[in-house]
Symmetry: C2
Subunit: 175 residues, 2 copies
């Protein structure tokens, strides 16, 4: 496999992918959010090979997204539950779902986010936590932070130059 050590890239997106950049990991987290916690239930739901599931669960535990807890002594049995780091992954799953529903649900919606109180479908959108303003590409851009390395800094600078020259996809062409 072509795994590269993304950790060596300073970008926080690359770092996140270092933890969940395998299809299975994201689907396991999705199922954990739906209350699945036992090996057999993950296995049955995902139709995943047991050795692959073992490997992905172990990685998610090592990376601090799942916690392995003993729930039975005789025989010794374990379950896997989301840590607070794992629970913080929920917005990624919801934005993936929203994108999938918008573009790849030819025959209709198979899963959606609902308001538990009304049953109505909810469209989740990103806003500025402080002001409530919708995040868009015209007003919200990426910047290099104090811990950025040279590569990341130059990428952000390249991006700024592209914007200034109007070569980057312009805000007006964005949705």
């Amino acid at each position: 496999m072509q795994r590269t050590n993304f950790e060596s890239m300073h970008c926080p997106i690359a770092r996140s992918l270092e933890r969940v950049g395998e299809w299975w990991s994201i689907l396991i987290l999705r199922d954990a959010f739906q209350g699945i916690s036992r090996f057999d239930d993950f296995q049955k739901g995902l139709n995943i090979a047991p050795n692959m599931l073992t490997r992905r669960l172990r990685a998610l535990v090592e990376d601090g997204l799942l916690e392995r807890r003993r729930y039975s002594d005789k025989p010794a049995r374990y379950e896997y539950v989301l840590t607070s780091c794992g629970r913080d992954f929920r917005p990624v799953l919801l934005t993936l779902m929203t994108w999938g529903n918008r573009h790849f649900a030819q025959e209709g919606i198979s899963m959606f986010l609902a308001d538990e109180r009304t049953g109505q479908q909810v469209e989740p959108v990103l806003v500025d936590a402080r002001t409530g303003e919708l995040i868009d590409r015209e007003h919200h851009t990426l910047r290099a932070g104090p811990a950025a390395d040279e590569r990341l800094r130059s990428r952000v600078e390249f991006s700024r130059q592209q914007r200034l020259q109007g070569r980057a996809p312009t805000p007006s062409s964005s949705p």
Copy 2:
């Protein structure tokens, strides 16, 4: 590689992963959002093998996330720009970045979302587009839609049962 046809799973998260469930694809999209459009620039920025880059770009074009455009006739040269489907992927990148910054930025923030007008860091959060209410696990849950297959329907029902029995991570244990 252990690629499974996620398309056969009806879940919109699985379907999204079918398009971008490779580390490289997500990093290529990230760079496209920063205005990178040419093969050599992607290659230099990502330090990716050319044949791998060719393969990932082709898949992103086939899946409708990037458009391949000729920008020079002699010699014939092409650039890759985000389609509207590709631009709609931005919230996924921003939530991945936010999660990475929160949990995996030990030595400080290397990249952040800023308000272009003030330069201040912005924390993007998910809200209900209609009401502006914060999305949380107590009030917003996943439901099966009309196009759900049996497997997805039973997974959602399992999740509901877990919640009712209090076995699922309870809302009060969520952040």
